[in-house]
Structure formats: C-alpha cells, structure tokens
C-alpha cells in the first residue's frame, strides 16, 4: 500500500497539475513572509476546487493545518458580502478535532493569517467549555468557520435548527483522523458525517492524518458509501507527503544490569537524567500513569541541578495540567514526563529530544511520539528508547527497525458499534421525525456502518423505542413511536427524552472517578475522618483503584507520595507522608498490547542468532544460554516449556500475541487443563508469554500422552469453551456497562439530578445478570460480545495464533526454570487477573471455620 501511494504522488508531481485558483491576497501574504505555498497545499486546494474530498497524510511540521483550511479560506474570501437584511448564513466550514485544546490552538493559528490578510472570515470554537450564551448566539449567527469536537457535533445535529445551521456547509475538516476513526467516537462521528451529508448533500470533506497502515480505510471513511445501485467502493482522493528527515533514534545501551522484568526502568534513571541534561527540552513518554509517577518521583530524587522537570497525565488536576502546558509553551521546562495525553497535536515549545521509557508496543505509536520532537520537517527528530527489561530491548529494536522502514501498524478499523448507532438514532429523533428507510440508507452511507443489515438496524430502532425486548411490555413508555403502522415515520414521544439525550450524548465514559484531596493533616473521630475543609485537589483517580486501599496505605500521585486517610463525601482524602517507599504500587502493566507487527519481528529476531549481535551483550548472552539450556524456537514454532519449581509445576507458552489475547488464552488453557485433570491453580500473562501452574507434573503428563499439546491448543477452544467463559467473565460485565451507557439504557446524567449516576441508576452488573438469564440475544448483549471479542479479549488475534501454530508446537521438559522463563516467573504475584480468588479472600477473613464453631 505504501508503494502504491508513493507512485500516485510521483505521478502527480510529474504532471505538475496544480494551478489552483488562489486569490492575490494569499500570494502576497506568502510572499511577505518569504514563503512559498507547498506543493501539497496547492494540490489539496486544486482538488477541493474540483469538488473532490481528499485525505492528506503528512508528518508534523508539514503545514497540514494551513493546507486543510486553504480551500475554505480562499472560497470565503471570494464569497460576496452578505447584504443588509439578508438572512445570516449557516456555518461554511466545520473543523473537528479529537481534543478541545487542539481546537483552541488551531483558532489561534488560524487567526494570524486571517488578521494579517484582513480576510472577511469569522472563526469560533464550540467545546464543552463554551458558555451557554455564546452557544445560543452561535445558533442565531453562526461563524464562518466553527472548530469543535465529535461530541459537540453530535449535539449540534440533534437539534431542531440543524438544517438551517448547516444549510450552507461546504467543508468538513477532520484533524488527526487516524486517531479518531479507531474508536467508538469515530463511529459516532462517522454517523454524524452521514447526517451532515443528509442536510447538505454538496459538502466536501478533508481528512488530515498521520501515516497509517491502510490509507484506503480513511479514504472510504471520508465519503458516502452504498451510493446508487452499484457497489462501487467510494474513496476520497489521497495526497501523501513523505516524511522529512529520518529521525535519529538510539536505544539506550545501559551500563547497569538490565532487569529481567518490570516496566519501571528504575535501573536507568541516572542515565535518563544525564540524557535530559544534554537536551534543551526533553519529552519523556511512558505508557501508563503509574510509570509516569514513578519516573517523575525518581528523577526528582537525583535532580541535583534542580532542572525544571514536570509531570503530565490525564488524572492530574486540570489546572495543574494547564500550568505545565503553559510552561512548555514558553520553553521554561527542561523535561516533561507524560503519558499518551501529549501524543496528539499541540505545538508546545521547542522539544528537541523524545525519550521513550518502556517499550512503545507499536511502530506507529512510536513514530507519532517521536514526531513530537522538532516540528520542522527538514531537521531530524532525535529520540532515545529506554527498554525497561530484556524482552523490551528486542521490542525496541523491532520498533526502531520498523521506524526506519516507515512501516505502520495502526490497528484495523472495526465495523461500527451497535450501541453507538442506538445513541445516534435517538439523536436523529431529537432533531425531528424520521423515515426509517431513509435513515437506514443514511446510516449505511457511513463507512463504519456500510455493512449493516436492515434487520439489525431495525432492532436498534426498536431498542431506542421500547428497549427492544422480546417481552413487549414497554409500549406505553416508548421514547419514539411510529406515527402509524404504515408510514414508517418515527417521532419522539416526549421532549424530556431530548433533554435526556443532550445530557448523555457521547461515547467517552471513563470509569467512575473520585477527586483526590490533599490535606495537611486529618482529624479523626470514632467514625473516620472528622469534617475538614480546604486542601488542594490533586486530580482524580478511579474508584476501583481507591477501593483497594485501606487507611494508612501510601501511594504515588501527582508527583508525591501520599497517605490514604479515607473517603469522605465522594472525595478521597490523602495527607503528605515522609515515607519514601509507597506501599501500594499503582502498577498496571502496559495499557496497549504489543502490536502484531512488532511481535512478528521479535520472533524473527529471536530465531536468527546473527541478529543477536545487534542486541546489547546482556540480551544476546541471555538468548545464548537459553539456546544451551532449552530451545530457541524458529519463527513458525510455538515453544512450550514445562518445569517444576518449589511445590508446583509450571508450563510456559511463548506465543508473543500481546497481553489481551494472552489473558484470554490463559483463561481458556486453565479451563482445559482442569478438564484434563491437571489441577491448574493459576496463570499469569504478559505481552510475550503465558505461564500456567498447577499441582500435577504437566511435563510428565505431556510426555506419557495423558495431556496432548495439540489438543490443548486446538482451535475448537474458541467455540463452546470461549462462550462459556465469556458469559461469566467480569470483563464482559465491564464492557456491558459501557454499551449500556452509550446506547442510553442507563444514564450517566439524569435531568434535574446532580448526584452521580451511581445513586440513581441500577447497577449494570445486575442488569447484565437479568438480561443474560432472560434474553441472551438482546441487541445490547450482542453489542457487548462483539466489543469484548475485538477489544478486551482480542479473540481475533487469538484465532490467528491458534491457526498459525497448528503442528508447530515444540515441547521442552526441563529440570528447572529456563532463562527465557525468568521474566514471567518474576511477574507471578505481581500481575493478577481481577475477579479471581475473591471467594478465597472472604474465606480467609471469615470467622466461621468449623474449628472456631466447634471448640468451646
């Protein structure tokens, strides 16, 4: 695919086609600044003027934003002035970005050329922060260019005046499209775009994106599908700007001993600090919040030069985050430790070095993050990768190679989620009555829903109307109703459902979180924390995390170690502590699973001893000892090792398919081993391998044929076993909650109630149990299973693995743990599978043991 796009580009250059109609004032402005419009900017303008929709793929610093707005700006400049008394025009250009901060930033960047050229163009933002009086005014007098987010678009189209508001719409620009399309947000946006096309058939789209694996997916996304009778695959045009200078990437070759496992990179903190000292401003990326906290804390411990080093992640107090961003913009920081919150968008100061701590998990993610350094295209970005353990060294090497090859491993697009569709249908009804046939055609014009069949669509409509239950007892409570049985026209039954919709629209539902408040000290009375006031908000943490804490536990948050005092009125109260070692490791492995592409490369790297020379000595020696003591599997093989240790017997599977697929596989293997009477007692999964342990000698069982590895890994495990396990899994309940919220079965916010959703709604776990018992095929159950299979459980990848290893399993029975198994053995006890062993905990604490009861 990459080749194809390159060819396209070359042809375009050769033909020298771009002679777009560009107003003199623009040429003058470029000239005054000593600039030339870049070829891709002119090309995009030309195509737009021809009436085409276009996807522009370009690296940061290529002038993507200006390119995207050039068609609008030139057209608006040429538009005749509104005569007095003439009606206000609707929005001309809609710009949609994944971050509201980005919308605000773009406004600033856009106003400069508009002011300098004196263009008759108004630009405004509309985000969750926009005050209501301005929203009202925007509806009456829309700006020419409106910068907004997907959630706000959903609200705008679910409005009676939407047709007037969008009557003059010409362009819709999607920024960072690659990051939008992969999620449910992207599904909702895709439906929103279909609705915009319904309101204004002539509109053109412009997609701005970083490099992706399959550009055609995005090209389809930008234009209507299923148009007319033919099944022509509609695609927007494509312009690709090749990356500028290749980045300079190094893997930190540590002088310290490389850890076997863990993700903290504790060993390299000194070297990281020295690297920061050598840079003007460094951006330090980590994968999780806990890694960020840990690294920040440890850097400050050795920060003898008092370098201004800051911390930035999504749980921190917003005010605190804005301060860090402002300080970066003025170049007053030397380093920022950040999670994916800084992956996207905004130009902040002169970052000249990116450090990636821990493995990047995907080649595209790494490329994106490295792109954060140095926003000038012609100068190379500089980056240093800091692997936190031995497997990560190989992963970093694979990512580095991929980066030089320009290989992309962005995840494939999923078909649109049904819960999102349900939400959208209600939104459409809020705007006005709809014809079901017409809406179906509109929905399947959205790329994400192009494959949706009528039957499923109809079930979604019925879900919105009455819950869609087989037991039709809610007709009288219907939210939307058919005007009469024949017509196929649906109407909202009561305006309060419109209000309900507006309060709950959107697809981003985070786990319930609580504010963490820091007090200097806490007075306690018999009942816990006495009423206290004041204190500073440090940010928000998930309830499920805080639930696991008891009074006196210490943990790292917002760059300090704090002591948990208790929960008071929906806030977690903490106090400062002198403790140096937090008792509760806020550790959760990597958030992103290892990409398939990197996994393949790691397998290839391991299988080829010649490639070991490119690895640090500690790693190549480790592999050499593995070759002596056990086996190094070939690229196609699946190595399974068995060995005893202590009282238990272990089975380690080196499958390299990412943590999510491994967790699913671990669960299924355990079930099968149970059935084979091998008495498994637990398992742990990492990105690289799975370890199952039990009370029986698994190696001996395999050797004498009581246990067949081929049978154990047979693809049929994805049948009944999977079904049985999934239905019961806590992960399915978690997914169900999301689906129920998005589809509108339960509300996050209820009109007139200020309390959090929790108090006024029924727990989704209870709903799940009831629905599963009585209507397991309900549309929401279907949506939940589809979600879980692709997301949390990664069943798709697991299926590929099982197919790949058929007949390729090699077993090595060992006397003791192998070098390759050491990392995962160290994870035992550190990583647990949630939802397990709760009964054991209860039993431990219970006083009702027989001995207690019977002794007097």
């Amino acid at each position: 695919m990459a080749n194809e796009t390159k060819i396209l580009r070359r042809q375009a250059i050769k033909l020298d086609l771009y002679a777009p109609d560009i107003p003199q004032v623009f040429l003058d402005w470029f000239g005054k600044r000593g600039w030339q419009p870049r070829p891709h900017q002119l090309e995009l303008l030309q195509r737009s003027q021809q009436g085409d929709s276009t996807l522009l793929i370009a690296p940061t610093g290529a002038g993507k934003t200006l390119a995207g707005f050039l068609p609008s700006l030139t057209e608006l400049t040429a538009r005749p002035k509104r005569k007095p008394g003439e009606r206000h025009r609707g929005v001309h250009t809609l710009y949609i970005s994944p971050l509201k901060a980005l919308a605000v930033d773009i406004k600033r960047n856009l106003e400069t050329p508009i002011d300098e050229m004196g263009l008759p163009v108004t630009v405004e933002t509309r985000t969750g922060d926009t005050p209501s009086h301005r929203r009202q005014r925007q509806k009456l007098v829309p700006p020419d260019i409106l910068l907004t987010t997907p959630e706000q678009l959903a609200l705008l189209i679910a409005n009676k005046d939407a047709d007037r508001f969008f009557a003059d719409l010409r362009f819709v620009i999607f920024d960072e499209l690659h990051s939008l399309v992969t999620s449910k947000r992207g599904h909702l946006l895709s439906l929103g775009l279909a609705r915009l096309r319904h309101l204004q058939g002539e509109l053109q789209t412009i997609g701005l994106s970083a490099t992706v694996a399959v550009p055609a997916d995005l090209q389809r996304w930008l234009v209507a599908q299923n148009v007319g009778d033919t099944n022509v695959d509609n695609q927007a045009g494509l312009i690709v700007v090749e990356g500028g200078a290749k980045p300079l990437i190094n893997i930190l070759d540590t002088r310290e001993r490389l850890p076997w496992s863990g993700h903290s990179a504790r060993h390299a903190v000194g070297e990281i600090y020295d690297t920061i000292k050598g840079a003007r401003t460094a951006l330090l990326f980590v994968n999780t919040r806990s890694q960020a906290e840990f690294l920040f804390q440890n850097l400050w411990r050795i920060n003898e030069d008092n370098l201004p080093i800051a911390l930035h992640h999504g749980s921190l107090d917003v005010g605190q985050r804005r301060k860090v961003e402002a300080a970066m913009a003025t170049n007053s920081l030397r380093a920022v430790v950040a999670t994916s919150t800084l992956d996207l968008g905004i130009d902040w100061g002169d970052v000249d070095l990116v450090l990636h701590i821990g493995a990047p998990k995907g080649a595209s993610r790494l490329a994106q993050r490295i792109g954060r350094a140095n926003h000038r295209m012609d100068e190379p970005s500089k980056a240093v990768l800091v692997p936190a353990n031995r497997f990560e060294v190989m992963e970093c090497k694979a990512a580095l190679d991929a980066n030089y090859l320009g290989h992309q491993d962005t995840p494939p697009l999923r078909p649109g989620a049904l819960d999102v569709l349900c939400q959208h249908i209600l939104g459409v009804a809020v705007a006005g009555p709809f014809q079901e046939d017409a809406l179906y055609n509109e929905v399947i014009s959205a790329a994400a829903y192009a494959e949706l069949d009528w039957d499923t669509f109809e079930r979604c409509v019925h879900f919105v109307a009455t819950g869609g239950y087989a037991l039709k007892s809610y007709e009288r409570y219907a939210k939307i109703k058919k005007v009469d049985a024949e017509s196929g026209e649906w109407r909202l039954t009561h305006p309060r459902f419109a209000q309900q919709y507006r309060l709950n629209a959107g697809t981003i539902y985070e786990a319930p979180a609580m504010t963490v408040r820091l007090l200097k000290f806490v007075k306690r009375d018999g009942k816990g924390i006495a009423a206290t006031r004041g204190g500073r908000s440090l940010g928000k943490l998930e309830e499920y995390f805080l639930e696991q804490m008891v009074y006196g536990d210490t943990f790292m948050f917002a760059g300090q170690i704090v002591r948990f005092e208790g929960i008071r009125e929906n806030e977690a109260i903490v106090t400062p502590t002198v403790s140096k070692d937090p008792m509760v490791p806020i550790y959760a492995g990597s958030k992103f699973p290892l990409s398939t592409y990197l996994a393949e490369h790691i397998r290839a790297m391991m299988a080829d001893p010649e490639k070991w020379q490119e690895l640090p000595l500690q790693v190549s020696q480790w592999l050499q000892i593995q070759a002596q003591k056990s086996i190094i599997p070939t690229v196609d093989q699946l190595l399974v090792e068995t060995f005893p240790r202590g009282e238990k017997f272990y089975l380690v599977v080196y499958s390299f398919e990412g943590r999510l697929a491994h967790q699913s596989l671990g669960m299924l293997l355990t079930k099968r081993l149970e059935r084979a009477r091998a008495r498994p007692t637990g398992f742990v999964a990492t990105d690289y391998c799975i370890c199952v342990w039990g009370l029986d000698d698994l190696g001996a069982m395999i050797a004498d044929g009581r246990l067949s590895l081929a049978g154990l890994f047979d693809e049929d495990m994805l049948g009944d076993d999977l079904e049985a396990w999934m239905e019961d899994s806590f992960m399915l309940k978690r997914t169900f909650r999301q689906c129920a919220l998005i589809a509108g079965l339960i509300e996050k916010n209820h009109p007139g109630k200020e309390k959090s959703g929790r108090q006024i709604t029924v727990s989704t776990d209870l709903i799940y149990d009831v629905l599963r018992e009585h209507e397991p095929d309900h549309i929401l159950m279907q949506a939940t299973r589809e979600d879980a299979a692709t997301g949390l459980l990664d069943i798709h990848r697991l299926g590929h693995l099982l197919a790949r290893i058929k007949g390729q399993i090699v077993h090595k029975d060992l006397e003791q743990v192998s070098p390759l198994a050491v990392p995962i053995m160290l994870e035992i006890g550190r990583e647990t599978v949630a939802g397990e062993a709760n009964e054991t905990l209860l039993a431990e604490a219970a006083e009702n043991l027989i001995s207690d009861a019977m002794t007097v």
């Binding site: 009455t466 819950g467 239950y469 037991l471 007892s473 809610y474 409570y477 939210k479 009561h494 309060r496 459902f497 309900q500 018999g526 009942k527 816990g528 499920y544 639930e547 696991q548 804490m549 008891v550 009074y551 509760v584 079965l745 339960i746 509300e747 709604t761 029924v762 727990s763 209870l766 709903i767 149990d769 009831v770 629905l771 018992e773 009585h774 209507e775 309900h778 647990t832 062993a837 709760n838 009964e839 905990l841 209860l842 039993a843 431990e844 604490a845 219970a846 006083e847 009702n848 043991l849 027989i850 009861a853 019977m854 007097v856």
Partner: protein, 279 residues
Amino acid sequence: MSDSPNSYSWTLKGRNKSKRKSGKSLSASLDDNTLMAQLQTNLPMPDLFTAAAFKGTCIHAVNGEELVTDCAGVAYWPAEQALLVADLHLEKGSSFARRGQLLPPYDTMVTLKRLAGCLEKWQPRRVIALGDSFHDQEASRRLPVDAVQLLTGLLKGREWVWITGNHDPTPPEGLGGQVVDELRCGALTLRHEPQVDADAGEIAGHLHPKARLVRRGRSVRRSCFAVSRSRMIMPSFGAYTGGLNVFDPAFAGLFEERKFHALMRGDGQVYRISAADLS
C-alpha cells in the same frame, strides 16, 4: 439476653449456655457433612432438613432467636418455620421505564424465581416479607401475568405476611397475604425500617447492607446481613437492588462501633466477617 421466651427445642442448649457466658457468638458455619451428622444426632430437627440445606449457611442468634442465614439472601427461622426476606422491589424495572430508562422487564420474574427456589429449599410454614416488596404504589398492578401466577402459587398453602415499607406503604391488591406495619413474634420484632432506639430483637431491611473487605490490595464487595446479638439488618433480595456500605451514615446508631458482624453473601457460602476487618 440469656433465655429467650419461646425458645425452640432445637437450640444447642447446654453448649450455648457456656458460650454465652464466655461472651462468644453462637454462630456456626455448617458447611460440612460430618458436622451436620453430628448436629443431627444431638438435635431434634424437622425431617425435611437435610445436610444439604444447611450447607454454606451461617446461624446467628438475635435476642436468643436463632436464624439461619442463606447465601441466597434470605433467613430461615426454625422456631417459627418462617422464611424472612427483605426488599424484593418487584417491578423496579418498569418503574424506571416510566421515567425513560427502559431496563430489561424481567426483574420481577428473576426475583420471584429466586425466591421460589428458597421456598423449595426451606419449605417454610410462613413467609415474612420485610417491606419494600413492591417498588412503588402501582407496582402490584403492573405485575406481568406470569408473575402474578407464580406469586399466587408461592402464597398458596402458607401464611404470608407483607410488612409495609416506604416504597409500598399501602397493601398490595388482590394477591392475598396479611398486611402489617410491624410484626412481633417470639423474641423478635420485624419491621421495614430499623429504629435506633428499638428494643433488642429487631429484624429489619430497608438499608440494603453491603460490606467491603480489603485484603492484600484487593477488594471484595458483597451484600450482607448486618448483625449483632440484638438486631439483624437483612440484605435486599430484589434483582435490581444495589447495596449500601454498612459504614454509611445511614447505619449510624444501629450498631456499636465496629462491634458487629457482616454475614457476607458468597458463592454458595455465607461468610461471617467482623466489622473490625471491614473497610
């Protein structure tokens, strides 16, 4: 406290007395067949009880009256051959539907079927529903036909008492059963809402108690019976009913500070956990 009126012949008399003196709780977990065999040889018991019925239960005495708590969320009172159940909240689903949250309309059937299972197991002569049996005033009129049939079947051949609750202050229509605001029986007083100054022997519902245990960085939350020697707050039984932590201010004054137990509902087992160990 020592000798309850109406004390039932089934109590472990000799053993109990020594236990009471030492201040220890009477409760025992009968999760083992040998233990049951032992108990059965020592005690006269209704024939219908097999070891299986007691498996995983926890016996707790309130004001001297022994109650068998079942992990299904009901309590059996052998002295009265009565089954106690609280907060059924029937038709909670349709009650939400009226306000625009179209929850699955199966909660009543799920709740009643679970209750039917408990009746099958304990074969009680009386059933006492401790209030909030119906989620709202009109709920009994909204019951689906099959739910009415099932419920009628459950009421048949036994005494049934509906204690009124804040959700259902008026008696249900046409379902049978007695409606009372409060019931005194043996050494116990059964009512919906617990009262801070109640005499010893109060059995109530209303609060939907739930307890949380944190151990080794993990947290388990379960609905529970909150119990002391003088009172028991029953867990809520309805399929759509959530819980309230036993340390919530709503429980203030009902139990002595940390000196009570949560009989937490596990998987086939009731676990007796001291409040001192809960979070």
